[in-house]
């Protein structure tokens, strides 16, 4: 993974199993979001391959790659809802473009997706008219529009208060279980990582590679790499010597 000659990460090798919630974690600037862009077909890696159902995503002709990308649903960090469209239009657009459903069926599906994320009745609203948390959920509804096999989340809890973030985590968990789809979550939100992560990798900015892998809860107690240990134990109270300066 590199921008021109600047290498961000190297020797990245991992496998995600169908149906699991997989976390890509690491500190700020370690290349998590760049890795995500490689996985979702937005940026070709400087070297290496990305396999999806045993097919190399970046070796496929552009058209086939586009078709493959339809099996993925992506929730971007900012939601990235199309601001000139209502929530219903945002969700309906991929359905109109990539299915042969009738308008009435698309309307039913849009209503279903909105109700799945707790936004029933808000279809006529524009993104700017609803809160940040609602925008995230609406963006999730759009990501679910085509019943994807894999859901990608880029910092899903970024910009949300703890309660909204927790609700979004629960939603991701429920949807993943009910739909049976795989979820790959790029985040550094510790609460989310420990609460919903089934498996994970930890990218390190200093050594520029994966320094730990495994279930987050297991890593919290058994990781040997000091950065991983510090990262996953961030939620614990500071010891007396560190906290003595606080008022």
């Amino acid at each position: 993974m590199a921008y021109d000659h600047f290498v961000i990460q190297r020797d990245i090798n991992f496998e995600v199993r169908r149906g699991e919630i997989f976390i890509v974690m690491g500190g700020s600037g370690c290349g998590k979001s760049t890795l995500l862009r490689h996985l979702i077909g937005l940026k070709s890696p400087a070297g290496g391959r990305v396999f999806f159902d045993d097919k190399d995503l970046w070796a496929l002709p552009a058209r086939e790659r586009d078709t493959m990308l339809l099996k993925m649903g992506i929730l971007y960090q900012s939601g990235a809802l199309w601001s000139s469209m209502t929530l219903a239009e945002n969700i309906a657009l991929p359905l109109t473009a990539h299915t042969r459903l009738k308008p009435a069926e698309i309307g039913d599906l849009v209503a279903l997706k909105l109700s799945l994320v707790g936004l029933a009745g808000f279809g006529d609203y524009y993104p700017e008219e609803i809160s940040g948390g609602m925008q995230k959920r609406a963006a999730l509804a759009r990501a679910l529009a085509l019943d994807p096999e894999i859901l990608f989340f880029d910092e899903p809890s970024a910009g949300l208060d703890p309660i909204s973030a927790r609700r979004l985590d629960e939603l991701i968990l429920h949807l993943s279980e009910s739909l049976g789809c795989t979820a790959i979550i790029v985040t550094h939100d510790l609460a989310s990582i420990l609460e919903i992560g089934g498996n994970s990798i930890f990218l390190d900015a200093e050594s520029k590679t994966i320094v730990a892998r495994g279930p987050p809860l297991w890593l919290r107690d058994h990781a040997e790499h000091p950065t991983v240990r510090d990262f996953l134990k961030r939620g614990q109270p500071l010891d007396a010597s560190q906290s003595s300066n606080r008022p």
Binding site: T99, G121, S178
Partner: protein, 379 residues
């Protein structure tokens, strides 16, 4: 892929079971809920619906919409749904979908459109627009007042960069358009003047036309399309990104920090652009006169020298300075009025150009009337 199928089995006078089988995904001809609804019409005693999904191979959201429509219909008729036999994932999603009830108060009322209502809305929008313009003009005047008192906060570096952008960077397009306008004026006029053997008056026509009106007008319209639009797009994007809010909360007035330097930059540069356009236009006329109508370059210049007076240029330059302020005001106003979405930036840009041109035409008419009334060009 087995075809999706639906079979209604009557278990008792009050209960039925829906046997759902095959692949119930988008793309296949899945049975509609109407089939069950129609059947229920013929069985008024039915009070319970169960499912048999043993042969249901695959499903997706379309299957869920079938079930949600059925559940809604049954709820209206007091029929109980027994969903224990549905796949676990389906039950989970149905529970999720019904966890938060539909917010009736969130629903939008459809806006019907009678003629009177449409006129009313347009009138209100016009009034809002006018009030916005008045407010912006007032704020601009206050900001200029603070500038004169030395209290306005703006960066000199921004002003110089904007002067460079509004002035020297606009010269190539001004040159091209002014040259062509001068040539067109000369050609159109000369064809008529030649009928009377009065081709020499091409110089008068082009000189007076460019100096008094066309130089100023063409420069201002070009600047509305080029610079006014750029102001609107830049300030609109800043509004969308929250940069304007950040300025306000950091204690900077957007009027002083963003609008003043833009108005000043255009006001200071546009008179020079106008004078330059006048000269280039007159030169364009000379090219046509000497090339097509047997008037020598020196004859043309002598005629220009005899006919044109400084006041002709001064009037044009004065008008253009006013146009410059109006173009900058239109661009900045539309940029700051921009809504917080990507489409709004495009609309703000378009609106800045249209508003700028409307301002130019209206102010030109007013100034022409005043200039005529004052008899400024009297010899």
């Amino acid at each position: 892929m087995s075809a999706p199928s639906l079979e209604i089995v009557q278990e008792s006078p009050t209960g039925i079971t829906l046997r759902l089988a095959g692949d119930w995904r988008s793309g296949g001809a899945t049975p509609g809920v109407e089939q069950v609804v129609n059947w229920l019409e013929t069985a008024p005693l039915c009070r319970r619906i169960g499912f048999d999904c043993r042969h249901l191979t695959r499903w997706d959201s379309l299957f869920l919409t079938f079930l949600t429509r059925l559940i809604r219909h049954c709820a209206d008729r007091g029929i109980t749904i027994h969903d224990a036999s549905l796949p676990e994932g389906v039950r989970g999603l149905l529970a999720l979908a019904s966890a938060v009830p539909e917010r009736q108060d969130a629903m939008r009322e459809l806006q019907s459109g009678g003629l009177l209502l449409t006129w009313g809305r347009h009138t209100l929008r016009f009034i809002r627009d006018f009030a916005g313009l008045a407010e912006f003009t007032g704020e601009t005047c206050l900001a200029f007042g603070r500038l004169l008192l030395g209290r306005a906060r703006m960066r000199a570096g921004d002003l110089f960069a904007l002067i460079q952008e509004c002035g020297p960077n606009a010269l190539p397009i001004i040159s091209l358009i002014a040259l062509l306008v001068g040539m067109i004026l000369a050609f159109v006029g000369a064809v008529q003047l030649k009928l009377f053997g009065a081709q020499i008056y091409i110089a008068d026509l082009v000189g007076l036309g460019m100096a008094r009106e066309m130089g100023a007008m063409m420069t201002a319209i070009l600047m509305a399309g080029r610079t006014g639009a750029a102001f609107a797009a830049e300030l609109g994007s800043m509004t969308v990104n929250g940069e304007i809010d950040a300025l306000r909360t950091t204690g900077f007035s957007p009027m002083e920090f963003l609008v003043l330097p833009r108005i000043l930059a255009l006001f200071l540069t546009i008179p020079f652009l106008c004078l330059y356009a006048d000269v280039v236009g007159i030169f364009g006329g000379a090219l046509v006169a000497s090339g097509l109508f047997d008037i020598s370059f020196s004859e043309y210049l002598v005629q220009i020298q005899n006919r044109l007076r400084p006041i002709d240029f001064e009037v044009g330059i004065f008008k253009c300075a006013v146009f410059g302020i109006l173009v900058a005001v239109a661009g900045c106003m539309r940029g700051l009025q921009c809504q917080r979405n990507a489409t709004a930036v495009g609309l703000a840009t378009t609106s800045a150009v249209v508003t700028g041109i409307v301002f130019i035409v209206i102010s030109d008419a007013v100034m022409t009337l005043i200039i005529t009334a004052l008899n400024v060009f009297k010899r």
